[in-house]
Amino acid sequence: MSIFVDDDTRVVVQGITGGEGKFHTQQMMEYGTNVVAGAVPGKGGQEVEGVPVYDTVAEAVEEEDANASVVFVPPAFAGDAIFEALDTDLDLVVAITEGVPTQDMAKVNKRLSEVDTRLIGPNCPGIITPGEAKLGILPGNIFEEGNVGLVSRSGTLTYQVVSNLTERGIGQTTAIGIGGDPIIGTSFVDALEAFENDPDTHAVVMCGEIGGEDEEQAAKFIAENMDTPVAGFIAGRTAPPGKRMGHAGAIVSGSGTGTAESKISALNDAGVPVGDTPEEVADHIEDFL
């Protein structure tokens, strides 16, 4: 089994005619994902990689029965594209776009509370259920089918940890990059809850980083609600306070909250071993299985 995406997921790609949209549509299809439509305003009637393009997401849903979307729309229009997707009753929207203004995301966040759609991202690499489907830009060849779930705030760190697992023959149920922005759709807690409820997920890796309090909340959730063992990794132990380290969220405030130390100790207190290196994370997972 898996969480959020599988063989039955039918994908509409928003922004399919752009460079990244086109390249990754091809990559997703090569991986076996059911990409059934594209949606680009004004480009309806065209075809990309053999996929029909519609002017609106609503048409793509009606004509091709899409139930998920992947957003490759530039930041200036990404908020609007997510709103459009949320208005069509899709099960899942995955927003890859980096640099969506925070106040746009605050409005999206409000809309999310009114609909049943799950949003992953923005500014994320997407989600993959190995052997079934990938929605996003994750390099498919490093993943393998198996029974470990993975959730991460960082895309490239996801790849790193997955490759450490795969090299040891440890496969994954589903891997999700939730994104490093201050306001995101799916949180650590949402993903951990779904992994806990998935009988095929026997262990979970959670990769966090400095900034915010999401990891601390996740630690609390793990302590109170999870039987599935979790191993952690926290990036940014050496980051100086007050400096923004790339991700909008990756900044340590002066007052000591959001530091790697506070996150690691919260996780340790919840019974989660935290690796010093990605290799050590894989060691912990190996011990669990």
Partner: protein
């Protein structure tokens, strides 16, 4: 992007928030002309992007001409936490009875803006927030509707703002939220708001930070950005458009994706080295950008070795390899040893292209970092 106090005050004043009379000055003569117009007492305030200016000696009150000249001479050109003061705001002193705090920021855990008001203004509000959080009244704002007037009233009454000025402060707050939203601010703060002996409310300071991701729709604000880099390297990174932070070590680090670059830093430390910088080339980087990144790191004289760590997703290994070759082939001799680790999208193609006479190649993250740390140790000896 941070606005200076004088810039934020111009925006506040235009929106109808009262601010003290002021002039901007960049020389002692200009300060003296300004105080002649404004009179005494006058505040001379350094315009630099650092917190705690007052405590650090960047704000002085002058009661007469001698004090004004002395303050101007002291503050202009002074080094304030790494920044040189080039401009000061000369401002009329306000005769006040109370100091308040008002601010609006994004509460990321709620995904909503939050408005905050406190009667404990004029001091370190972060300390108040930590030690007596109940002294700050807070109200979350639904971004779809904005700050309702009733919420602004509720929060000022909750904060215990004196009744005779409560409605003025509430209207302040509404104006601030309008500015916050219209300008895509990430923070907007006034600390302190002063209540004068005539019971007027005046913004004695102004903080306004803009969401960098939203600057594309605020050309007017983007044009107000003034260079405020701590050193030439950070200025160069700004020109190249990199996420870059200079650190104190000697192992230069280049990678893609904030989480992986931070992890690379942490591993350099773990293996006994010391990172010289954080440099994220971002997603989907092309060859030229990769070459610029190497130029950046070689420009730092503290760097003794470089580790290039790429795990391609949207970034393609062949593009990265091309960039590394282009950057290194210009040199007769490579300035510092470079270790490259390529994985992910098109990594194999990249490895075929990569000129291995110019770089060392490692297959795993741990090995690459260890080798870079060893290189740095050898070079620095």
């Amino acid at each position: 992007m941070k606005l200076h106090e004088y810039q934020a005050k111009e925006i506040f004043a235009e929106a109808g928030i009262p601010v003290p009379e002021s002039r901007l000055a960049s020389s002692v003569e200009e300060v003296m002309e300004a105080v002649e117009d404004i009179g005494y007492p006058a505040a001379i305030k350094a315009q630099v992007h650092v917190g705690g200016r007052g405590k650090a000696g960047g704000i002085k009150i002058a009661m007469d001409e001698d004090e004004a000249r002395q303050a101007a001479e002291d503050i202009l050109g002074m080094d304030l936490k790494g920044y040189t003061v080039e401009k000061v705001l000369v401002e009329a002193g306000v005769d006040f009875e109370n100091e308040l705090y008002v601010g609006i920021t994004m509460d990321r855990s709620e995904g909503k803006p939050v408005a905050m008001v406190s009667t404990e203004g004029g001091v370190n509000i972060e300390e108040v927030a930590e030690e007596t959080p109940e002294a700050i009244a807070r109200e979350h704002i639904d971004p779809a509707f904005g700050l309702h007037p009733y919420q602004a009233r509720k929060i000022v009454f909750e904060a215990g703002i004196p009744r005779d000025v409560a409605f003025d402060v509430a209207s302040f707050l509404s104006t601030l939220y309008d500015l916050y939203e219209a300008n895509d601010a990430s923070d907007i703060e006034i600390n302190p708001v002063m209540i004068t002996s005539d019971r007027d409310v005046v913004a004695a300071d102004a903080v306004m930070n803009i969401d960098d991701d939203a600057l594309f729709r605020h050309e007017d604000l983007a044009a107000m950005e003034e260079d405020s880099y701590e050193d030439e390297l950070e200025a160069k990174a700004g020109e190249y458009g990199f996420d870059y932070v200079r650190l104190s070590g000697n192992v230069g680090i280049i990678g893609n994706g904030a989480g992986l670059v931070m992890t690379t830093l942490d591993l350099v430390d773990y293996f006994g080295g010391s990172p010289a910088n954080f440099l994220d080339i971002g997603g989907g980087a092309k060859a030229e950008r990769v070459a610029n990144a190497l130029d950046m790191v070689f420009s730092d004289e503290n760097v003794d070795s470089v580790v290039f760590n790429i795990f391609g997703g949207i970034t393609r290994g062949d593009e990265v390899a091309k960039g590394i070759n282009e950057a290194l082939e210009q040199f007769d001799e490579i300035p510092k040893p470079v270790v490259v680790r390529l994985a992910g999208t098109n990594a194999e193609e990249g490895m075929e292209i990569l000129n291995t006479e110019l770089v060392q190649v490692e297959g795993t993250l741990e090995n690459a970092v260890q080798r870079a740390v060893e290189n740095a140790q050898e070079v620095s000896q």
